[in-house]
Symmetry: C2
Subunit: 325 residues, 2 copies
């Protein structure tokens, strides 16, 4: 029995607790949480057996820690912690879609330059194992199109408005109470969060970082009761659809509300669920759906990354694998 | 550059050709087809650069071959070839759902006793990466239910009958022309083929082999124009649904036609597409959909197994991994 890897955990919110709860279930996983860095030490917490600190350097400067798991709100701080940890030779797991989506150029530089790994399955599609699937299996199938519902809270809001005639405000409050929406839900609702995730998938599908400036992005706030009535009359549902098309060497991306019919694979994807449909040249269309938000699903995605790290896994995109068409 | 692994290929039909076409696209894969065993040497064939034989022993007794890929119709012969190859210390890939589904007790014995690997991603869900996903990721999420469309040709037939008012006979002929249906389509139509696949998924989800005798299995031949009209009136589609539920230690399985509504994740799964929905305790419901039949999708699943073999992968079920609830 080799000595378990030591984990330094940043953040103990929704996802952090979910990861902690999941990890407890797998005593055979050879890794333990050695230190947890939180903003406020005075809050009452589960996990009394854990060592808590509010000083990031206690984790960043600790040569004993093998793996840093970053699950905090603040993207700037997250980026600093991740960079320092990678430079210190530690493997890093993150769920910070905003930081990763905004910094894909640096992320790809990190992937290309560091031996130690940087994984973030939880950053896209919550519990859906989509990042490493696009990075490996689907990339090899030659991706031509990606289309999906990539934001759990906006899908939850749209579902409640359409299925149960809730007001936008009530649905948003509920999404926040359930921990689907960020404290500041602007990114969820505006479509920008889905844009970050689409960029991350594009990077893993093609090894290229698309410029989000070129994305056509439309918020769900523009969706009126009138739109919903019109869609219902046609037996359609309005979904916030993120879409990517590759023609020749151009990648065209958009995130906008779309009325989808019953034969559309996104029609049955309601509430906090996410779905990603990937069209490939070789094996056709693949659809992956599951819980796109929530403590346990997202926490379990972090746990899956931990297991991959322990198995010696790293993203292929960093190996510049190319297939011959 | 290490010397490429030598493959002995049994069968050069729909799937075999698909595998051959796919493999050609990936020169960076360190494996080559050394010998192909076919029933009839006199047929005109693609792949002139390949060495063809009609003598199985030319492959089975060749110590030079590292990997045997079995893609033939005949389950009895397939089983013999696979057993001999495993005993000879070769890794084996198969797509033979009938043989595997009927022989899961032996298959689990093979998994437990042989160091060399036996993989069969192509045996379930065509191009959908479902076997190793259930075996690894989902098994760890604690599976409670599996539900899906697991037979491409019966789904193709039902779709044509409902969407385009085709007769059962016309749809079946077309499915055979397209290479979705077996030469003898009885297993596809009766639901038994889907039953085999459900058993395979159950084995990987729970490490137990359910007895197919206990399955409730119903053919699609009983589906009348009247049933279809009634379903349409309710905006439903009739699908051949394979279902598994685990309560306590009992596994209950069935395969039967079911009228599903638009909010069901199986509603939008038409023609030769398959879908598998897996409910787990930890991360909730996951849905995987894609092409369930056809030369390239199924051939690509065989290629994915080949890549896994070269990566040193083997099924977890053979390691008797258990999670603590």
């Amino acid at each position: 029995m080799k000595t378990p890897k030591k984990i330094g955990l940043f953040g103990f919110g929704t996802v952090g607790k979910g990861f902690y709860e999941n990890l407890k279930k797998y005593p055979h996983i050879s890794a333990k949480i050695a230190k947890v860095c939180v903003k406020r030490l005075d809050l009452p917490r589960i996990g009394h057996e854990l060592y808590f600190t509010d000083n990031p350097d206690e984790l960043l400067l600790d040569p004993q820690l093998d793996i840093i798991i970053e699950l905090i709100d603040d993207p700037e701080a997250a980026k600093t912690y991740i960079q320092k940890s990678l430079l210190a030779g530690k493997d890093v797991i993150s769920a910070n879609k905003k930081m990763i989506g905004e910094s894909l150029q640096e992320v790809s530089y990190w992937h290309d330059s560091f031996e130690n790994r940087f994984l973030y399955e939880a950053a896209v599609g919550g519990g859906i194992p989509i990042v490493h699937t696009v990075d490996g299996f689907l990339r090899d199938q030659e991706v031509t199109e990606i289309r999906g519902i990539l934001n759990g809270s906006s899908n939850y809001i749209l579902t409640q408005m359409q299925a149960n005639n809730w007001s936008f405000e009530k649905a948003l409050r509920e999404a926040q109470l359930k921990g689907f929406a960020e404290r500041n839900p602007t990114l969820d609702i505006s479509g920008i969060d889905a844009g970050y995730k689409l960029s991350i998938l594009a990077y893993h599908a093609f090894g290229e970082v698309p410029s989000m400036k070129s994305f056509e992005i439309e918020s769900i706030e523009g969706v009126t009761k009138e739109d919903i009535k019109r869609a219902k009359a046609k037996r359609r549902k309005i979904k916030l659809v993120a879409s990517l098309k590759k023609s020749n060497h151009e990648i065209v991306c958009s995130v906008k509300p779309e009325a989808v019919g019953a034969n559309d694979e996104l029609y049955s994807v309601d509430y906090e669920n996410n779905a990603v449909s990937v069209e490939t040249l070789i094996s056709g269309r693949h659809v992956f759906a599951g819980k796109g938000a929530g403590s346990l699903p997202t926490g379990s995605a972090v746990l899956e990354d931990l297991k991959r790290l322990l198995d010696g896994y790293s993203y292929q995109v960093s190996k510049k694998v190319r297939t011959v068409a």
